[in-house]
Symmetry: C2
Subunit: 189 residues, 2 copies
């Protein structure tokens, strides 16, 4: 997706060899016009799969998932992290790990909103090691819903998450695939 790659080249900040900050337009400040373009692109790629629901995880996936869901005219469902007192029963749960925060966390999805009839598109902003997506896949398995695909805004291909998902036969579409960021230079695949 050319407009996205251009934006990454203009506004993303590389830290070390593996951290990419897109706080200018996606992860802190959000460019809603770009978000709409991203939603339309995911619809172009997954529009024929009978998607009934978009699944993501709080919080940086929510904006992208909502923009995508508008195009599909289906609800968003976002996994909640932790053990909030308002979300303690009747959930599918899976454990993931945040490298950013250096801690384990639990994702919760209510059994009320996900079940065997659903055909899911998982959406997230980043794919690196893939642990968040793996946890969502675990929740999908528990629910009996059918996974139709995974849509990612920015995939860091030099980490292992994408390869592991493709090896499992998951239909993965990433709008910008970064091959390397060595020396602070972003190279797309």
């Amino acid at each position: 997706m050319e407009i996205l790659k251009q934006r990454i080249l203009e506004d993303a900040v590389v830290i070390g060899d593996s951290i990419l900050k897109v706080d200018n337009f996606l992860n802190h400040q959000i460019d809603v016009a770009l978000l709409d373009e991203i939603g339309r692109e995911f619809h172009r790629r997954f529009g024929d799969f009978g998607i009934t629901k978009i699944l993501t995880v709080e919080s940086s996936g929510i904006s992208v998932a909502c923009a995508t869901a508008r195009e599909f005219n289906v609800p968003v469902l976002f996994a909640k992290k932790g053990n909030a007192s308002t979300l303690n029963e009747g959930n599918y749960r899976a454990t993931s790990y945040s490298f950013t925060k250096a801690e384990e966390y639990v994702m919760n999805v209510s059994k009320k909103y996900l079940g065997e009839g659903d055909r899911l598109l998982i959406i997230d902003d980043f794919l690196a090691n893939g642990l968040a997506i793996e946890a969502l896949l675990d929740i999908v398995r528990q629910s009996g819903a059918k996974l139709e695909g995974v849509g990612i805004v920015i995939e860091k291909e030099f980490q292992t998450g994408g390869r592991k998902l493709r090896d499992k036969g998951v239909h993965l579409e990433s709008l910008a695939r970064i091959a390397s960021m060595e020396g602070g230079i972003i190279k797309f695949s």
Copy 2:
């Protein structure tokens, strides 16, 4: 906003006398068509104030803020909670408290994205005691930006947040104002 009140009566769940769960359409599963209506309603109420940016806090405010920002054609900026390693310098910071999670937390907003030229609309899903909004107001003060108003989807008027903001002269607009939920019966103002 009639369509919102109807949806609350149909799908919200009252727990005790003060907790309202809207997980069916706003806080876990998200009805994106309703979200669009909410965005349009905020634009009707604040469209003439020269808003340059929508400010909210992760994570349940993000979906509403994005739908609103589309109508205004301005960026969203969402305060990040905690001390992520990717967000540690150059921030406005304010402390709030989550009754749901029973813990203090810090909100962070990068100084890069908020400053004196900005005219802000703060958006959030709920207003109860108002501590989250107070922390955002603190950040706005630090930044020198001008607060034009606060837009809330659901205000629990029987708690003190709304009154405190109105007493300060804040232009507060809530799309559904709940006067009481005693005995599990939702009464709008």
